[in-house]
């Protein structure tokens, strides 16, 4: 199994604190050492980093810890290989373009006998069930809505229709973003916290590290953090219901 970390904010925010705790699970406090990846939206562009070295030792992960990249939508993943070899092509998150936007996707879970026909423009490059599911999602979105981005309500309704079709094949905790919203679906494990004014001090579960968010934020900032396992010991994390799909926009539930 793998670990997911998502962040959605109303103002570009760095993910250094949460990523530090999260990356520690990649080979140090946990057994997720078969690669990792992270994608940051900056406007409509994406910075995409993947590595098959453990996140705890990867020089690219070290760069991300040291150089704060500010973003409103971040998706990160630490991989424990269940299907597919440990290669770069199998590292999440995956990125594709649809409707002139980049879409970023990462998955936690294991799908069995999930082989929908992919006869649209999206094909997996690697060999994971996860990338297959991502290609299927984009194919179906394109089929349903044609050549233009639909209104958010329609997009959300279509995603809500598609999620159980995939989750019928196994655990499908996933994070998906097009740079305007972050969609999070839970089948077994997903939690979120909203950090907003008045900010407090948060303490990482995985490292002896605390941060007082009041010192690094303004009163208008709002940040949603979504994870497969809570990252901090002194914040209240809300558990998703099984089958729940939540849309995050501007750091809150939309």
């Amino acid at each position: 199994m793998c670990q997911l970390l998502g962040m959605n904010c109303n103002t570009p925010t760095d993910i250094v604190f949460s990523f530090t705790g999260f990356a520690t699970r990649g080979g140090l406090t946990d057994h997720h050492s078969d690669g990792w990846g992270i994608a940051f939206f900056e406007g409509s562009g994406v910075r995409h980093f993947v590595d098959y070295q453990a996140a705890v030792t990867s020089p690219v992960a070290d760069l991300i810890r040291r150089c704060p990249i500010k973003s409103q939508h971040v998706i990160a993943h630490i991989r424990k290989a269940t299907q597919g070899r440990v290669t770069l092509a199998n590292c999440h998150p995956f990125v594709r373009e649809l409707w002139g936007r980049y879409w970023v996707f990462a998955h936690n879970g294991d799908l069995k006998n999930f082989n929908p026909t992919l006869d649209g423009p999206y094909r997996p490059v690697g060999t994971t069930d996860s990338e297959h599911a991502f290609c299927y999602l984009l194919q179906e979105l394109q089929r349903t809505f044609g050549s233009a981005l639909p209104p958010l309500a329609d997009l959300r309704a279509e995603l809500a229709r598609l999620m159980p079709l995939i989750a019928a094949h196994g655990a499908f905790n996933m994070l998906l973003s097009d740079g305007s919203a972050l969609f999070a679906h839970c089948s077994t494990n997903l939690y979120y916290v909203i950090r907003q004014h008045p900010f407090t001090t948060a303490k990482l579960s995985d490292e002896d590290l605390s941060v007082d968010f009041a010192e690094v934020t303004t009163t208008n900032d709002r940040v949603a953090v979504i994870v497969t396992q809570p990252l901090t010991t002194n914040e209240t994390w809300t558990a998703f219901q099984s089958g729940e799909l939540i849309t995050f926009i501007d750091g809150e539930v939309a």
Copy 2:
């Protein structure tokens, strides 16, 4: 105008030496300081780094200079904005997926009145003529060959047909790779050198740096380097003809 750097090898090779000279042009010895990018194939996977900071000061470029990433196909670009704002979405190289492979593309030049209809699955995310041309190329390849990768000779013939259609609109020096070959097209400026046994010492034009490739290679290694301006002062660079499309495989002209 921008600068291009491509590398195609018969064994995974690091690009640190060539990238060091190339990156120096991004803001220090030349005026290409509106961002940069580089993509490395590792197997079928791609590491993709883009930044709108000048390559000479970018912490990501510094990581690439310090951490040798070995690859058989590399495409790098330093940008001087001619069309499109300086944003991440406008940084080359661009990456898309076709036939279950990633395709990487970078362009040097400036296209005028190039607005072919894009009604296939590929749409630009940014606002450059270059990304428009890339989407057009992939759309036409998919239209011509359908759902499966064609034999190399057919692919090359189709690219040779498409290049002058784009180059009719302006300078179209470009590098394109699907991780099995590197295609290079020249309309105004492109050079290549093949480094192979017996290796010699090469001296960068842009920095006071030399490397004796004999010390870091085996006698079987072969590396083709393709650039818009020769990087070294003591190697013989072959100039492309205008309109020439060359395919590099395993470090040689295929």
